[in-house]
Every structure is written in C-alpha cells, then in structure tokens.
C-alpha cells in the first residue's frame, strides 16, 4: 500500500457510487442465477446440464468482472475522483509507479469482486459437490484474465484519446478474447476464457494459459509505461 496511486484509486473506488452500483448489479445477477440454478433439471442430458450450472455462474462472473475491471481501467466507466494515468503523469509520480498503482488497483478490484461473488458460487458448487480445487483454479483464471484485460484497458486509456475510439477498441478486443478465440484450432482454443474456466474446473487447464494471460498483462503494463513516458518527453 506504499504506492500513492494505488491508495488513491482504492479510496476513490470505495467511495464511488458507480462502483457501488456495479457491485449491486454484479451480485444481483449472480444471486438470481444461483437461486434459479438451485432446482435440479432432470432429463436425458441432466448430468451435463447440472454440471455446467456452476460453470455458467463462473462464466458470467468472468464476463462481468473482466468487463467492469477493464472498463474502469480504460475510463470507459469514469470512477468519481479517480485520476486517469494521463492526469497523474503530470503530478510528481513516475510512469512506473502510476502503472504499478493502476495495475494493482485493477487486481485488487477484480479479486474483491470475486470474493463478493464467492458465496453464491459456493452455494451452486456445494450443492453439486463440485471440486473446491477446480473452483479455486477457475477463480484464479478469472482473476488473471480480468487483470490482463484491465491492463489492456489501462493501455488503451493512455494510448487512445478519443473516448469513442477507445470504447470501440475495448469492446472489440474483449469480443476478440471471449468470442474470437473460439475460432482458433485446438489446443490454442483453450486460451478462450469460457473454455478455460470449464477446463480449469475440471483441473485440466494447462499452466501455459495462465502464463499467457500474465504475460499479456505484463506486456500491456510495459506498453502503458512507454506510452506514458511519451507525455513526459
């Protein structure tokens, strides 16, 4: 917590009405899904369907957490009193500490939201005896994906001034990650977060996928720093 950017962002997000509304919306969606998913669906394909209910909950959680975390980082959702990296670069902060602070704030936000959603996932998973290790693995993947997409959003927020273009690029890249990767041949297709969550739940996701998203996040981190330095040049 020695990073002043991180401290400031966490304080801003804790007090933000928008973040409050996002959390209520997120928990509301997860709560309704968890509650509606309680009655078993008996039928010919019931085994497959009931197994996927927890997975469905995790996928929804991944989409919401990833979108909101990256949208906040890209300033598509402007959090009250939270300064953008470009604003901070003219304050006495180095690009390195700005990017590190923003990066950690995104990670903390994604982790916090995952923690808030954990009881609802636990209800769905506990009733179906889903593996706890699988849930932890899937949760870790969601956190890594959300953080790396947040890093991407941060870079977009720094690199693209136009709000419309930035939003377009943000949505386009999110669609590319969540939908476009489905067009990849196997085994590259496993980088798709939806498929990855299902595989992680089964304990079958290769560590390379986690590493890929971490590397992508670090690359965005480096790109954001370089772009910020241009403002100082």
């Amino acid at each position: 917590m020695s990073n002043p950017v991180l401290r400031g962002d966490l304080r801003a997000r804790a007090a933000s009405r928008k973040i409050f509304a996002i959390e209520l919306f997120y928990l509301g969606v997860l709560g309704v899904l968890a509650w509606l998913g309680m009655p078993p669906e008996l039928g010919a394909q019931a085994a497959e369907r009931t197994t996927s209910l927890t997975t469905a909950l995790l996928v929804v959680e991944a989409i919401l957490v990833t979108y909101f975390a990256s949208a906040c980082a890209a300033q598509e959702i402007a959090v009250e009193t939270e300064k953008s990296p470009v604003d901070l670069v003219f304050a006495p902060f180095t690009p390195r500490s700005i990017v590190a602070g923003k990066s950690l704030a995104t990670l903390a936000t994604a982790g916090y939201w995952l923690l808030l959603g954990a009881p609802l996932v636990a209800l769905s998973a506990g009733i179906r005896q889903d593996s706890a290790a699988g849930l932890v693995s899937a949760g870790a993947l969601i956190a890594v994906v959300a953080w790396s997409m947040g890093q991407l959003g941060m870079w977009l927020g720094i690199a693209i001034e136009s709000e419309f273009s930035r939003t377009l690029a943000h949505w386009g890249l999110l669609l590319l990650v969540f939908v476009g990767t489905l067009a990849l041949p196997m085994p590259a297709r496993t980088i798709n977060p939806v498929l990855g969550i299902a595989a992680a739940q089964r304990g079958e996701l290769p560590a390379a996928v986690y590493a890929l998203y971490v590397a992508f996040g670090l690359a965005c981190d480096g790109a954001a720093r370089r772009t910020l330095r241009r403002y100082l040049a």
Partner: protein, 619 residues
C-alpha cells in the same frame, strides 16, 4: 455383494490349510501377477474350490504375506460389473485391518462376481501404499449353473452330477473353506458333508450352515461307519445312527433308485429316521432319510455313493437328483422391487426458500454496509462478510443436498416354515436430484450389493456393517440390495377343510393381508398382532394378475420381471399369507449428516401357510 469379513489376526503360526483352491490360486498369482506380487505374494481363493455362480455372493479368501510393518492396512478386492450406457464399472470391496509387523493376516471377503470374463483383482495396502497384489482369472469351466459342494478328504465322487444336470459344477473343499456367513451359501444348490470334523468349524460357520438350511439350503450328511454325526447338526437331521453293517444284496435300493447295485459287501450305517422323514431302505434297513427343515431340506445317507462300490452304481444319479431337487424359483426379484420403488427426489422447497432469503440478505447487507461506510475499511468489512457468507452458503448447500436426498426402500421378510428365522431381502433406491456421491450403510451383518450400477462402487466394511459409496447421476436413482436373516417367529395354518386360517403374527400386525394360492388372492384386510383366526370362504378370491396391478397394495412387489403378470409367488406349491408388516425390519440408512433426507420404506411379510389347501371357486 459382500458380507462382514472375518479376520484371523496373527494367523501365521496357526494358519491351517484352506484347500487346494488356495494353492491353485497362489500358483496362478505367482505366475500371472506383476513383479510386486511376485515379491510379496497374496494367496487368494475365489468361490468354492474355484467354482462361482455369477451374481451370487461367493467367498473370497485372502492370506497375506508376513506384513513388513504395523499400521492401518486394507485389502481391496475389485470385481468387474457391466453397466448399461457406460459399459464397465468396478465394485471395490475394502476390508480395513490393523497390520502387525511379521504377522500373516487372513481375510474372508464375500464378493459378487457379475462379469466372469474379467479377473478378480486383489490389492494389499499398507499406509496407503500397495505392497502386494494378485489377479485371479476365473476358469470358465468353474462358472456354475448349479453348484454342489462336497466336504471331503477325497476329491472325487460327484461325477454323476453331470448326468443329473449338465450345468452342475462340483466343488471339493475342506471344512476351513465353509463360509462363516450364510449368505455365502446363496450360490450353492447342495452341500454334502462327508468328512466333517466339527472341531474344525467355528461357531460362526456352524450358525451360518444352520441358518442357510433353514432359509432354503439343501444339505446331505453322509454317515460313515464308526463316525458320529456332527452334534451341532442333530437338531436339524431327520435321522440318527444305529450301527454299521454290510449290505449284500439291497434289491429294494435298486428298485427305488434304479440300476444294478454292485455286489457287496457295501459298508453302510443303519439309520433311525425321525417321524415324517422320507426313508429309503436297503435290505429292509433305513439307509436314506430326508425331511424338510425350515424352507430347506436335509438328508442323512447311511450309504456313500461317492466311493466304491456305490461310486459305480448307476442308480446313484437318481439319488443325487433327489438330493439336489429342482431349482427353487426366486420368490421376489430385486429388479422388480427396484422398479416398484419409484423414487422421486424433487428439490427441497425449504432449502430453495432459505437460499433465496439468504441471497437477498447477503446482497442487501453488503449494500447497506458499503452505503454507510464508503471507505476502504468498509470494503474490507464487506470482504469479511463475504468470507463469512461462504461458510454460511456452503452449509446451506450441504443441507439442501441432504434434504433433497431420498432413500426409498422395501424389505421383504420370508418366514421360514417352522423355524424362528426369516430371510430378509432389502432393496433400496437412493436418488439425489443434483447427482454426485452418496453413501449408504447396509443393515448390520447383511450382505450388500448394487442392483443397478451407475458407475464405480466402493463397498467398505466397518465392523459388521458394509457402507456403499458411489456416484449417482441426477437422472438415475441408484438401487442396491441387502440380504440378511432376522429372528422371527410367525406362522399360519389352515384348519381342517381349509376354511379357517389361524395366524400368529408375533409382535406386530399385518396391513392389507391376503392369502395367495395358485395365482389367486383372497384379501383379509388388516390382521392384528398375536394370534388371530379368519374365515376364508371358497368365493371372493381375486386373480393375482389384478392384485399385482394395484400400486397401493403390497402385492405390487410380486410381479414377474419385466412383466405385468404375477411372478413366482403364483406358482408356489403352498399357500402363503402376505401383507404389510408393521414390525421392525432391517433397513439401509443414510449417514448421520444426511438423516434430514426423505426416507420411505415398506416392509412386506410372507408367511407360509401350513395345513390343508384352501378350497377355491375360480373367479
């Protein structure tokens, strides 16, 4: 299927031979087993002298090598079973024991072998590590349609059985190999005791033998000159011995069983039959006496057709045929009982409402907290609330699962005729709407096995109780059965003329009671506990086919497999009294934590009716 295993701790020093089958299996294991097994061989004997009957409980005897160390150990026996849709599944029977360093352990584990094409695999685990293993293939020639077991020092004498029934398989065993659980005899059609030293039988083995006979087993005791009959069998034997003598020309024996009796002298023992026994004489002397005992049949032979000169006698085939009898039809079929259970496991409404309330409370609580404290400390408090909520929601999930678990079961008690024991077949169906693993404890002392396999099954013994552990699918209930004997003394008898039925129902009454006789059913209504008499006129009888169609009547459990017609109950040679019993009966149980689940159970009692047959006017 498996009954409580018997262990003989530290049996190395006093280990007794357990028959040729054990040696044969040891050789097979040594030859076929992997290197680990070669280093530490497990001696495994399956069935009676290697003979098994598919689907019936068979004894499995495992003798370990000297244990390399002490500590918690277990024997794991894996048998293959066929599963619809998914192919094969494995039933693992696990017998835990406390190993003592240097000691040899002997474990008896009754198992049911469904898929005889697959070998039986046995592992010895110590501290979670496999220290020995064996793989015992089953000899196709030893898969019995009908199984005759001879306890004898001589491995010969049953050759004539093939002429009696080509499906018959003979097995020669020593007294040590006799089961200590009556259920292990289930696959045996005839047990012949020739050289039985009673001192080599334990109390459990004696009780098992007596119980099996009273519940329908067929036993022949061959009396040999100069050797007394086993004392523990005297209460059920239809004759006692008078003295040895030599037969010379037993024409009456030939007249009764056919063939030319070889020239004498033939060593024989004269019998003194009990009243009512069916007697065959040789030269005017009783040498064969047979009588029913409970639902079974016991014979004493004063002649020995397993050794010369009578081993060459052609008439011995009829003697064996009479002893073997006709195969008894299964009174009730476990698969039919399973069909009639119709378990339903809807989601528990209380859990659903509670979950909705708690979800709303959680979201609203977080909203209030974050609204009142819009600071990082408030967020931290929210995180603490979420962590607490995880514990609450997991508890709710476990409770919802338990409350949605349904265990539906039926126990059919068949009172043995004139014996204070009843055979109890319990069939239960467990349904969990969410699928997943289920654990069910069989009644203490019962033999338990799956009726329908939905996947791999683990059967773990805890003292005298088998705990079945398997994974159920959400759309398929898991059906299993248990076989046990319960002490019960009920009786029924028709008075002279077959018009008045007197029943003694012991301590509990019978609901929806009815007399079944030759495909017809006479409804009696409810009968009270104790002695009661009812008039049974020759009119008012229903067709059994109509009775079994009634889903509210206990008759629904007596349909033929995959049919709407009545099953074997319609062909019984004697009338029976059937009704819903309100007395205690052995049942499967869910573990303590799942006791909140729904449980439905029926107990059907079947009492054979003695005396003259009723008079019936066909409906």
């Amino acid at each position: 299927m498996a009954a409580a295993p018997l262990r003989n701790s530290g049996a190395g020093a006093r280990a007794r031979p357990i028959g040729r089958a054990l040696a044969l299996s040891l050789a097979l294991c040594a030859a076929a087993g992997p290197p680990a097994a070669a280093q530490a061989p497990l001696a495994v004997a399956v069935g009676f002298d290697g003979a098994v009957r598919p689907g019936a409980p068979a004894p499995l005897d495992v003798q370990t090598p000297p244990m390399p160390a002490g500590g918690p150990a277990e024997i794991v026996v894996e048998t293959a079973a066929l599963v619809p849709q998914t192919g094969r599944a494995t039933v693992s029977t696990v017998v835990p024991f406390q190993a003592v360093a240097g000691a040899v352990e002997r474990v008896r584990v009754p198992v049911v072998i469904q898929d005889v094409r697959r070998p039986v695999r046995v592992r010895l685990m110590l501290g979670g590590r496999v220290i020995a293993r064996a793989e015992v293939p089953l000899d196709p020639a030893r898969i019995a349609g009908r199984l005759v077991v001879l306890v004898s020092q001589v491995r010969a004498g049953l050759g004539a059985l093939r002429r009696v029934d080509e499906r018959a398989v003979d097995a020669y065993v020593t007294p040590d190999a006799l089961p200590a659980r009556w259920q292990e005899y289930t696959g045996v059609d005839l047990l012949v005791l020739r050289d039985l030293d009673p001192s080599r039988l334990g109390e459990a083995q004696r009780t098992a033998l007596l119980t099996w006979v009273r519940l329908g087993g067929r036993l022949v005791v061959i009396a040999r000159p100069g050797m007394p009959l086993p004392a523990f069998l005297l209460p059920i034997l239809p004759a006692h011995l008078e003295g040895a003598y030599a037969l010379t020309s037993p024409a009456d024996l030939a007249a009764r069983f056919g063939g030319v009796v070889p020239a004498g002298p033939i060593p024989a023992v004269a019998l003194v039959p009990q009243p009512g026994a069916d007697v065959a004489r040789a030269a005017g002397v009783p040498v064969v006496a047979g009588a029913a005992e409970g639902d079974g049949h016991v014979s004493v032979w004063g002649i020995d057709p397993t050794v010369p000169p009578l081993a060459e006698w052609a008439g011995r085939a009829r003697l064996w045929a009479a002893a073997l009898g006709a195969p008894a039809p299964a009174f009730v079929d476990a698969s039919v009982l399973a069909e009639r259970l119709n378990p339903r496991a809807p989601a528990d409404r209380f859990s659903h409402v509670a979950a909705g309330f708690l979800i709303a409370l959680y979201v609203a609580g977080l909203a209030v907290l974050r609204r009142r404290r819009p600071t990082p400390a408030g967020a931290a408090a929210g995180a603490a609330v979420a962590a607490l909520a995880v514990a609450v929601f997991v508890t709710l999930a476990v409770g919802a699962r338990a409350r949605s678990t349904a265990l539906t079961q039926v126990a059919v008690l068949e009172q043995a005729s004139g014996a204070p024991v009843a055979r109890a077949l319990i069939v239960a169906a467990a349904a969990v709407p969410y699928g997943g693993s289920v654990e069910v404890a069989a009644p203490p002392g019962a033999v338990a096995a799956p009726v329908t396999m939905t996947g791999d099954l683990r059967l773990r013994w805890r003292d005298e109780t088998a705990v079945l552990d398997g994974v159920v699918r959400p759309d398929v209930s898991w059906v299993f059965q248990a076989l046990t004997a319960v002490p019960l003394r009920t009786s029924a008898r028709f008075g002279p003329g077959g018009r008045t039925l007197t029943a003694d129902l012991d301590r509990a009454g019978l609901r929806d009671a009815a007399v079944w006789w030759h495909g017809l059913v006479y409804p009696l209504g409810d009968l009270p506990a104790g002695r009661t008499a009812r008039r049974v006129p020759d009119t008012g009888w229903r067709r059994a086919a109509d009775a079994v169609a009634d889903d509210q009547s206990p008759a629904r459990f007596f349909r033929a497999p995959e049919s709407q017609a009545p099953g074997a109950i319609a062909q019984l040679p004697r009338p029976v009294l059937v009704g819903e019993w309100s007395g205690p009966a052995p049942m499967f149980a869910l573990p303590q934590r799942l006791r909140a689940g729904r449980a439905g159970q029926d107990v059907v009692l079947v009492v054979p009716i003695a005396g003259p047959a009723p008079r019936v006017v066909q409906p």
